[in-house]
Structures are given as structure tokens and as C-alpha cells.
């Protein structure tokens, strides 16, 4: 390694050029991301008609949950994502936002609900799609998945967002949104949270779907269980209780067990069925404590669940079934009965 002064000159230029390139590059990228504001969360971003672009709904839904365009929310997992606000709105006389997220844990569902509830003190309706995540047993439940959950977006102080824009996902999302803003790209996500993640219904392949269905077994929530079912711990129930109590008095609360395909349903009297049955009892117990709460059970043998052609796989039904569920829930609210569902509460 040289130590002469003359040889240090090119090194001086080398180091300065490398450092300045890195600094300027990072500065330009950061400026681009915060100006575009890909998640529509930053306090000082310039006005623009921003639309959801993030493929992980955990990033795109907090802004929707805060939007004054809505007065009602649907919470759940991908099994509830296909329920269309456009269908729900006239049935319930409400303005729904679908905040159901792929494989959302109960914690994540409660967090997005919290954002909605804080922003809508006069909310009209809450719908919660209940599935295996709500019926796990034991002292605790899974908080997060492998998908990134941006906690900061769910807090009130959004200034911290400025330190969360320095990553590839934010850049990618900013690039997508910028493409939409300048008209080079079409939005592919709904402004009310609804986005169909299944192929067009016209391309439905019953044989292919059946092959997937035949691969599925009974769905039994995980967790520790000892002693009689009444002694089991259902750790998500306090979360459900808090959510129900966070809704304003007079609002409607509609809890529904989603319609799993019959292959996933547990036979009556089996150990697996005991877990679900006890879960239903616990949910009803929570519902009884809060006025205007309805519990509807689609997770049963019914004209919907018996028919394999209604499903893409064991937990994802077709678009037509989603619309049918919306109509069924409105009917249940009116006190009507149907083979599709059973109203667990009010009895």
C-alpha cells in the first residue's frame, strides 16, 4: 500500500466520489419516496389522489381505516376479503370498508379495528369474520405472521413514518403509486379495501378446485386443551370483548363464522367439533354482553358448504357465494331463517 502524498490524491477523489454518490443516491431515493408517500400516511406529503398499492394489506389499510368516507368496517382474514362493500352498503344502509387481511392474526385484526374505531367515534356497523384464528386455545395466541406488520401505521403519531420510508418495499410501492399518479399504470386495488384475489369467475375450473379440496383435511384450531371444554382458555375472547365494547352505543355488531367447505368441518361429537362448539359458546357469551350484537354461523353443513363448486379451495369461496353471504347476513339481521346459516345470538 502506497504512502506517498502524490498517490493519495486519486484516493481522495475516489473516497469523496464514492461517499457523495452514496449520499446523493440515498437522498434522492428518500426524497422521492416521502414525496410520493406510498401508503398515504405521512403528515407533510403533497396532495395527490393516492390509491392503495401495497400488496401487503397491513400497509395499505390503516389509511383506509382512518378515511371519513366510511362509517362501517369488515374485519377478518382472506376468507372475508371477498365480501364487497358495494354489495354490503345497500343491504345495511352503510358505507363499508373491507379491512380483512390475508392470514391476519387476531392481534392484527384488533389493531386495524382500533385505527378504524378511533377515527370513527360514530361508527355504524362492525362485521367480524370468525375463523380458526379466533378459536385457538391455551394461554396465548399468535401475534404476527411472517408478513411485515408496520406497527407505526397503527399508532396516532404518524411522524415516525419518515424513518420508515428507507426500504425496498416503500420504494417499490412509491414507484407503483407514482406510475398510477402519472397515468402510466392502472390501479389494481379498490378504494374501499375490496380487491378480488381470485381469478375471474369465468375461468373457474371445478376439477382443479376439487383437486385442491381433496388435499384439505379437517380444520381444528391449535392450542393447549386439558379437562372439560368449559375449562379451556380461549385467549382471543378478551380481544373480541374489547372490540365490541369499543363500538359506539347503538351501532350494529355482526359476528359470523365463515363457511368452510364441508371437508374442513369437524364431525359432530368429535374432539375437533368440541373446540369449535365451545368457541361458539364463548363468542355468544361475549355477544350477549353487548347490545345489538348478532352471531351468525355459516360454518356448518349447508347448501353453501356441501357444494364443492362453491369453492376455490377449502376456505375461499367464489364471488357469487360472497354476495350470497352478504344477503344472508342482511336477512339474518332482519330475523329471517335460511339453511345457509344458523343465528346463534339472539336465540
Amino acid at each position: 500500500m502506497s504512502s506517498s502524498i502524490s498517490s493519495s490524491d486519486p484516493w481522495r477523489r475516489f473516497f469523496r466520489l464514492a461517499a457523495v454518490t452514496a449520499a446523493v443516491g440515498l437522498g434522492l431515493v428518500y426524497a422521492f419516496v416521502v414525496l410520493v408517500d406510498p401508503y398515504d400516511t405521512l403528515p407533510l406529503s403533497p396532495p395527490a389522489h393516492r390509491v392503495p398499492v401495497a400488496s401487503n394489506q397491513r400497509f395499505s389499510y390503516p389509511t383506509l381505516a382512518r378515511s371519513p368516507r366510511f362509517d362501517s368496517a369488515l374485519i377478518g382474514t382472506s376468507s372475508s376479503r371477498l365480501l364487497r362493500p358495494d354489495v354490503l352498503n345497500p343491504l345495511f344502509g352503510a358505507r363499508f370498508v373491507n379491512l380483512a387481511m390475508n392470514d391476519a392474526t387476531v392481534y392484527e385484526q384488533s389493531q386495524i379495528f382500533g385505527v378504524f374505531a378511533r377515527a370513527h367515534p360514530a361508527a355504524k356497523t362492525l362485521m367480524v369474520g370468525l375463523d380458526y384464528r379466533w378459536c385457538v386455545t391455551g394461554p396465548d395466541f399468535q401475534k404476527l405472521t411472517f408478513r411485515t406488520f408496520p406497527e407505526w401505521m397503527y399508532r396516532d403519531n404518524l411522524w415516525v413514518g419518515y424513518r420508515e420510508m428507507f426500504n425496498q418495499y416503500a420504494i417499490q410501492s412509491a414507484g407503483q403509486l407514482f406510475g398510477i399518479l402519472i397515468g402510466m399504470k392502472k390501479p389494481d386495488q379498490g378504494l374501499d379495501g375490496y380487491t378480488s384475489f381470485v381469478p375471474p369467475d369465468a375461468t373457474y375450473d371445478a376439477a382443479r378446485a376439487l383437486a385442491h379440496l381433496q388435499d384439505t383435511g379437517q380444520a381444528i384450531p391449535v392450542g393447549e386443551r386439558a379437562g372439560p371444554p368449559t375449562s379451556w382458555m380461549y385467549p382471543t375472547m378478551p380481544v373480541l370483548r374489547d372490540m365490541l365494547h369499543a363500538m359506539p352505543p347503538g351501532s350494529r355488531k355482526l359476528l359470523f363464522f365463515i363457511p368452510y367447505n364441508h371437508r374442513l368441518l369437524t364431525p359432530a361429537g368429535s374432539p375437533g367439533a368440541e373446540v369449535w362448539d365451545e368457541c361458539r359458546r364463548r363468542v355468544v357469551a361475549e355477544a350477549k354482553a353487548v347490545p345489538n350484537t348478532l352471531v351468525v354461523d355459516f360454518m356448518r353443513l349447508s347448501p353453501i358448504t356441501r357444494q364443492d363448486e362453491n369453492y376455490w379451495d377449502g376456505i375461499h369461496y367464489r364471488t357469487g357465494i360472497a354476495d350470497r353471504l352478504a344477503n344472508d347476513m342482511a336477512a339474518a339481521l332482519r330475523g329471517e331463517t335460511s339453511d345457509d346459516y344458523r343465528v346463534l345470538w339472539p336465540e
Binding site: S7, A18, A22
Partner: protein, 459 residues
């Protein structure tokens, strides 16, 4: 704080480097900047352990002062005992208690003491200094020099294990000497290469190896899965650790200080002995100088020498972690070194490809033991590698494929990062701009990768 974190690269390093060179003319001031920065760097992880780091530093310095005045040979030994006691308490207490209670068949509750970051490194560094004093080294340093020696943040957490006599004398030198810009340039590039090795290759391969080793704890892997797991981890640990060493050495250079090289293309080794000359070289020389040679080294008969090397490597294995899998890993390497020694004296010389393949298979098999949480899981993976659980297949995503191929090519055939940055690199603008862009890209990658989009493949 990690070197490969956005805060370190974008804030901590520029600020500390700026202050260091702003005060460069004054030795006390620039060293004070480094010591305070190092304490901040360490405290960022857990401020509760800064007093431990400082207390141990002060105690060791006092032992050295005491020895300087009395020349009593037991004083350094007292210091070594203190260091080993601290290491034993934090790192090995539960391990030793678990083993003892397990042998006695009694129930026990682990203490779950938090392991102070980098304790294995800074304790060994202090031990080496005290032992050198006992062996006749006359260097008794001032407190600031000693503080900077043991707390210098580039090497504080994970080495290289620097010796006092190869760095403290450098503290005298004004970093603004004629080689300043060259040191900054080469150090900058070596740091970037280290980040790239860690973030692009090691972290990507971790996403491949981790689930496979996790799966192996519940069900056996197929032949394809087990070799993929072993291969991915073999590359992961190399690029992770050598990447970190590159970052440390590069950072040291940016402060005008030379740290010793720690890795020299170990996966090109033609024997286990060769491997340990190239892998974690500063640990190898520590084990050699402070364990193997005091035990008798090669100065005694062949059997005693074999016992010495196995014992040294057993303890070397234990140094890596408080688990019997590490001990056995070290023991296997020790046994292999002993066999290697005998073979070199009496066996035929193997053709290089065969020698390389045998060495790599042994090293990979040992890495399985090193990575697996217990002997059962390790045995299961090794049985799978031997074909005991069927051939099977594994589908690799594009990132994993790239990381495996690129990692293997670099590890086996490419230039080492330090050879590139410290020797081959020329100060061309055509390399400066890509270096800057590379760092910017890596900083953004560190902030968060693009997630694997959840696609409903089944539809």
C-alpha cells in the same frame, strides 16, 4: 448496534468519523472520541452492560498496573481468573448447572442470564494481554490507550481478536498522514464488501437454511433437502462471519488503524489443518498461543500432541457456545487435526481435488452439528445426508439459487474481499461511483427486503 444497520451507516459512522478527524491533531481528543463512541455503540444494544464492559476494562488495567509495579507472576493469573469467572458466569452458568443437575438427575431452573454482547471476544482479548505480560511483555499502557484497545467498536462485538501489540502502537499515529485518503477509500470499499457478503448472501441463505433445520427437528429431511441445508449453512456462516470481519477491518482502516485479517478463503482448504489456518485466524492463533503451546504443543510425543490438539479444539468449541454440540464440534475438528497431522507424516499425498472434497465434506458435516439445536436434530440431518431418508427433491426460489451459486463461486474461486480491497483496488472513478451506488442499494436492502408476495398458487 449492528454495522449492517441504517443508523450505523447513515448516522453513527459519518458522525464519529467526522469528529475523529476533526480532533485528529490531538491524540487524547481523538482517542476520547473513539472510546465514547464505542461505549455508545455498545450501550445502544443494552446500556446496562456498559458498566460491565467498563468495570472489566478498569479491573484489567489495574491488574496490568499492579503487575508493572510488582512483577509478581501471579497477578496476571488473578486477572485471567477474574475474566474467566465473568465469562463463566454469563455464558456458561446455565450450561454447567444444567449438565451437573442433569447428571444428578435433579430438577433445576435456569438463571437465564443475559449474555453480554461480544463478551467472548473482549474477555479473550484481555486474557491475551495479561498472559503476554506474564510471559515477559513489558507493555504497560495508559488508561486511555487500554480503553481504546479493548473497546474500539469495529472489533468490540465479534473481533477480529486483536492483540495489544499489533494495535496500541498505532494509536500514536496521526490518522491524517499521507495514506489517509487511501485508508479511507480502501476501508470504505472493504466495508461495503462486508455488508454485501452479509446482506446479499448470508441473510438470503439464512432464509433457506433456517426453515430446513427447523423442519429437521420435527421430521426427517430428504437427501436433497439435507444437502441443501448443509450447503446453505456452510456458505451462510462463512459469508456472515467473514462479512462482519471485513466490515470491522474496513472500519478500522477508515480510522487509520490496521486490524488483522480473519479469513483467507477457508473453503479452498485442502486439509483440516489448512482450514484452521484460514478460518477465524485470530481465534486460531489465540488457541494456539494460549492453549495449545502451553499444553505442550508439538514439543512432546505424537500421542500427547494429539491429546493437546483435541483438548484445545474441545475448548475452542465450547468458546463458540454453551452447548455440548459445540464441544463435540470442536472435538471432531481436534480429532481431524490429529489425524491430519499423522497423515501428513505417514500417509500418501492425496490429489488436490480429492483432498479438497474430503475436507469440505468433513467441514460441512461438522457445520450441521454446529447449526443444529441438539444431537438428535444433527443426527437426523446427517442421516439424511447419507441417504437414510430418501432422495426427495427441493424447489429453490431464484434468490436462493443465486445466493447459493454466487456464494459457492466466490468462496471457492473468487478473490477474497481483502485481497480485492487492500491490494487489487485502484482509485478509479469508475469504481468509486459503483461503490457508492452499491452502498446506497445495500442500505435500502437493510431497511427491508421486498417480501415474498403471498400468492394463492393453488388457484
Amino acid at each position: 448496534m449492528l454495522f449492517n444497520s441504517q443508523f450505523f451507516i447513515c448516522v453513527f459512522l459519518p458522525v464519529v468519523l467526522g469528529l475523529y478527524y476533526a480532533f485528529a491533531a490531538n491524540r487524547v481528543a481523538r482517542q476520547t472520541v473513539v472510546v465514547l463512541a464505542s461505549l455508545g455503540f455498545y450501550g445502544w444494544w443494552d446500556i446496562r452492560f456498559v458498566p460491565l464492559l467498563m468495570g472489566l476494562t478498569l479491573a484489567n488495567w489495574l491488574f496490568a498496573q499492579w503487575f508493572g509495579r510488582t512483577r509478581a507472576s501471579w497477578v496476571p493469573l488473578l486477572g485471567v481468573a477474574l475474566n474467566l469467572a465473568v465469562l463463566g458466569l454469563f455464558k456458561y452458568a446455565d450450561f454447567l448447572r444444567g449438565t451437573a443437575f442433569g447428571l444428578a438427575g435433579s430438577d433445576w431452573q435456569p438463571w437465564h442470564l443475559i449474555l453480554p454482547l461480544g463478551i467472548s471476544f473482549f474477555v479473550f482479548q484481555k486474557i491475551s494481554y495479561l498472559m503476554d505480560l506474564r510471559r515477559g511483555d513489558r507493555h504497560i499502557y495508559g488508561f486511555l490507550d487500554f480503553c481504546m484497545f479493548v473497546s474500539f467498536f469495529p472489533q468490540l462485538i465479534a473481533g477480529p481478536l486483536v492483540r495489544h501489540n499489533e494495535i496500541i502502537h498505532q494509536f500514536r499515529e496521526d490518522p491524517r498522514g499521507p495514506a489517509m485518503w487511501e485508508n479511507l477509500g480502501r476501508g470504505f470499499v472493504l466495508f461495503i464488501l462486508g455488508v454485501a457478503k452479509k446482506v446479499l448472501i448470508a441473510d438470503t441463505l439464512a432464509l433457506l437454511a433456517d426453515p430446513l433445520f427447523s423442519k429437521a427437528t420435527g421430521s426427517p429431511l430428504s437427501l436433497a433437502e439435507s444437502w441443501t441445508a448443509a450447503g446453505a449453512y456452510t456458505l451462510q456462516i462463512y459469508f456472515d462471519f467473514s462479512g462482519y470481519s471485513d466490515m470491522a477491518i474496513g472500519l478500522g482502516m477508515m480510522f487509520g488503524l490496521r486490524l488483522p485479517i480473519n479469513f483467507d478463503a477457508p473453503y479452498r482448504s485442502l486439509s483440516v489443518r489448512d482450514f484452521w489456518r484460514r478460518w477465524h485466524m485470530t481465534l486460531s492463533r489465540f488457541l494456539r498461543d494460549y492453549l495449545y503451546i502451553p499444553l505442550g504443543g508439538s514439543r512432546c510425543g505424537p500421542i500427547r500432541q494429539a491429546v493437546n490438539v483435541v483438548l484445545t479444539m474441545l475448548l475452542g468449541g465450547l468458546w463458540h457456545g454453551a452447548n455440548w454440540t459445540f464441544v463435540v464440534w470442536g472435538g471432531l475438528h481436534g480429532a481431524a487435526l490429529a489425524v491430519n497431522h499423522v497423515w501428513e507424516q505417514r500417509g500418501p499425498r492425496l490429489p488436490s481435488p480429492i483432498a479438497w472434497a474430503l475436507t469440505m465434506v468433513f467441514v460441512m458435516a461438522c457445520w450441521v452439528l454446529f447449526r443444529a439445536p441438539d444431537f438428535t436434530a444433527a443426527g437426523s440431518v446427517l442421516a439424511s445426508m447419507a441417504g437414510g431418508h430418501g432422495i426427495g427433491h427441493i424447489a429453490l426460489d431464484r434468490d436462493s439459487q443465486r445466493a447459493l451459486v454466487l456464494g459457492a463461486l466466490i468462496a471457492v474461486a473468487g478473490p477474497t474481499s481483502h485481497a480485492f480491497a487492500l491490494t487489487r483496488l485502484r482509485p478509479s472513478p469508475w469504481l468509486a461511483v459503483p461503490s457508492g451506488i452499491g452502498l446506497a442499494y445495500l442500505v435500502l436492502l437493510i431497511g427491508g427486503r421486498l417480501p415474498n408476495v403471498f400468492i394463492y398458487f393453488q388457484f
